[in-house]
């Protein structure tokens, strides 16, 4: 059972630079107990550096990390109640699956009998009991991933870090493992922090996501809030597909091509150059008298469950996208009229 609540890890004002490159710039994040948390961002955004700071393989130039009441940064990696699942899995090639999993417990000096029981239990949890005697080189990618996971959770860490856990798997196995990871996180009740560059992966697994860009945290929110209420342009563009209209902010929306496009402002009031974000599925075709914008259909695509219509609108240099359930609702070259629910459009500072 997942009961999320108190802050487990408090990352406070962490900074790290490598020469001229700023990997982490004043990063502060609170991660709650029992949470499935994702650090999401393009490569080079600092997410892996932050993960390595938590594991103890990277020392920040400034800042503090508290795990409960303990100062995490004061502990060397092998004394932290934190385990990391490596992107390469880093299974010890000269040891069998069970010896790999037992390694962490043996280093703690756990009694032999207990090591055996716990290794047996955790291998059963990840469904690998049959393969306990195999060497890592005799396993498939998905099986290796499970061994790495078993090895990381057998010590029952307070915090489990996963570095791009699914990137080495092919597409089909990846979808399975997404569900598997989420189930496992519920079952073992450990706080998970996943680093990923794949927004779908983060959205489908995480309770909350921190979107990072160029060493700074852009927004920390639930997947739904990130999608519906991005706090800046980067997040809006990084998460999902979006229609972004450029114009000056006015009360209740932005000025665009001589008219006001309605939308809401989240948080601080915005003035000057702005963008209005409307998601393709919130964009609808309406009668001319209800139209906010008009344009011409240049392309339609049908994907079975959903369809997409691309529309050129005067004053907007990329096509406006519209998605809807079922077959396309317009034909190519047709003159169409667009609208949206103003409550679902967001005004963002440009």
């Amino acid at each position: 059972m997942t009961t999320q609540g108190d802050v487990l890890v408090s990352i406070q004002r962490i900074a790290r630079r490598f020469g001229d490159v700023v990997a982490l710039d004043d990063v502060s994040i609170d991660i709650r107990d029992n949470e499935f948390f994702a650090l999401l961002g393009p490569s080079g955004c600092g997410k892996t550096t932050l993960l390595r700071v938590l594991a103890g393989f990277e020392e920040p130039d400034a800042g503090q990390v508290l795990l409960g009441d303990t100062d995490l940064l004061a502990l060397p990696p092998h004394r932290r109640p934190v385990n990391l699942m490596f992107q390469s899995y880093a299974l010890f090639p000269h040891m069998s699956v069970e010896r790999n999993v037992a390694y962490g417990l043996e280093r703690e000096g756990t009694a032999k009998a207990e090591v055996r029981t716990r290794v047996g239990e955790v291998l059963e949890t990840v469904g690998l009991s049959e393969l306990a005697k195999r060497r890592p080189s005799q396993l498939s990618g998905g099986q290796r991933q499970r061994v790495a996971l078993a090895r990381a959770i057998v010590k029952r860490p307070r915090l489990l870090l996963l570095d791009e856990p699914l990137s080495a798997l092919d597409r089909k196995v990846r979808a399975e493992m997404q569900l598997e990871l989420k189930r496992l996180q519920h079952d073992v009740g450990i706080t998970f922090v996943v680093v990923t560059h794949d927004q779908e992966e983060a959205m489908s697994m995480a309770d909350r996501i921190a979107v990072m860009h160029e060493g700074t945290v852009q927004q920390v929110d639930s997947p739904v809030d990130l999608y519906q209420r991005p706090s800046n342009l980067f997040v809006a563009q990084f998460i999902g597909t979006s229609n972004l209209f450029a114009g000056d902010a006015v009360t209740g929306g932005i000025r665009f091509a001589g008219r006001t496009l309605p939308g809401v402002v989240v948080g601080e009031p915005i003035s000057g150059a702005s963008r209005l974000l409307v998601r393709p599925e919130d964009t609808v075709l309406v009668e001319p008298r209800d139209a906010l914008l008009s344009g011409r259909v240049i392309e339609t695509q049908f994907f079975g469950g959903v369809s997409t219509v691309a529309i050129t609108v005067a004053g907007h240099d990329v096509p406006v996208l519209l998605t809807r359930q079922g077959a396309p609702s317009a034909v190519r070259d047709a003159e169409v009229h667009l609208s949206w629910d103003p409550a679902k459009a967001v005004v963002l500072s440009a």
């Binding site: 594991a55 390469s88 880093a90 000269h94 090895r151």
Partner: protein
């Protein structure tokens, strides 16, 4: 393949040039005749003579002591150098200096060590030869082990630390097992190099403890006898075995 068929000729000639002397030497070691230049029938006589030659046996004993000692020390120091250079340094200065003794001409190393030993007033003997062999031996071990280390995933060591092992436990339980084939290959390499090393030993040895190559040299000064051929054949057998074993182990490493 057929277009470069004519290239087989120089290839064959090169191999003939390389191995005919060796084959002749081995055949002549079974010569019954006293003269090294005429054939007098097959015999193992010279191997018997060799087994009874006190000088040769003493030299062999000295050489084995030096080779074994140099191997042990070279492996320990060379492995540490390799780990240090690969994991904890990115100085190209340290890099080239660690490998230099393997490249510096033996004569330079020999004279240099002799001057150095007399400067710090070390008496010459087997211990000084042993130390001298460690100088180039650890460079070879460092080179071989480093090549292997550069292919192992550094996150293995991080994983070990992450799972609660300290640095020492990580070194012995994770690092050493993953570079073991290279350590063995390096050890065999140093052993065979030390076994027939003459130039450096000649400069750094004391008069009362000649190593086998020095014994052979003094024997050859009065002409090559078939006894020398027998001895050379045996040495070759040992070197070949060691080198083949080293190659096999390196190949095993690559395939993992």
């Amino acid at each position: 393949m057929t277009r470069i068929g004519w290239l087989r000729l120089p290839l064959t000639l090169t191999y003939v040039f390389l191995y005919v002397p060796v084959v002749v030497l081995v055949i002549m070691s079974f010569n019954a005749s006293k003269s090294p230049f005429s054939w007098g029938g097959v015999s193992t006589h010279w191997y018997a003579v060799l087994a009874g030659d006190q000088n040769v046996l003493k030299g062999l004993g000295n050489t084995l002591v030096v080779a074994a000692g140099a191997t042990v020390l070279s492996v320990a120091l060379g492995t540490l150098i390799a780990v240090g250079l690969q994991r904890h340094s990115n100085s190209s200065f340290l890099d080239s200096f660690a490998l230099a003794p393997a490249i510096v001409p033996d004569i330079v190393l020999g004279i240099g060590l002799l001057v150095f030993f007399s400067l710090i007033s070390v008496t010459l003997g087997l211990h000084s030869v042993l130390l001298a062999h460690v100088v180039f031996g650890m460079a070879f071990v460092a080179a071989v082990v480093r090549a292997r280390l550069s292919q192992t995933d550094p996150s293995l060591e991080e994983a070990s630390r992450d799972l609660g092992a300290g640095q020492v436990a990580t070194f012995f339980r994770i690092t050493v097992p993953s570079i073991m084939p290279a350590i063995i290959a390096g050890a065999l390499l140093v052993f065979t190099l030390s076994l027939d090393e003459f130039v450096i030993a000649f400069f750094t040895d004391g008069p009362s403890t000649p190593t086998l190559p020095i014994v052979i040299y003094s024997m050859v000064r009065f002409g090559v006898t078939p006894e020398i051929n027998a001895l050379a054949s045996l040495l070759m057998l040992v070197s070949f075995t060691a080198v083949l074993a080293a190659q096999r182990l390196t190949r095993l490493t690559d395939s993992v």
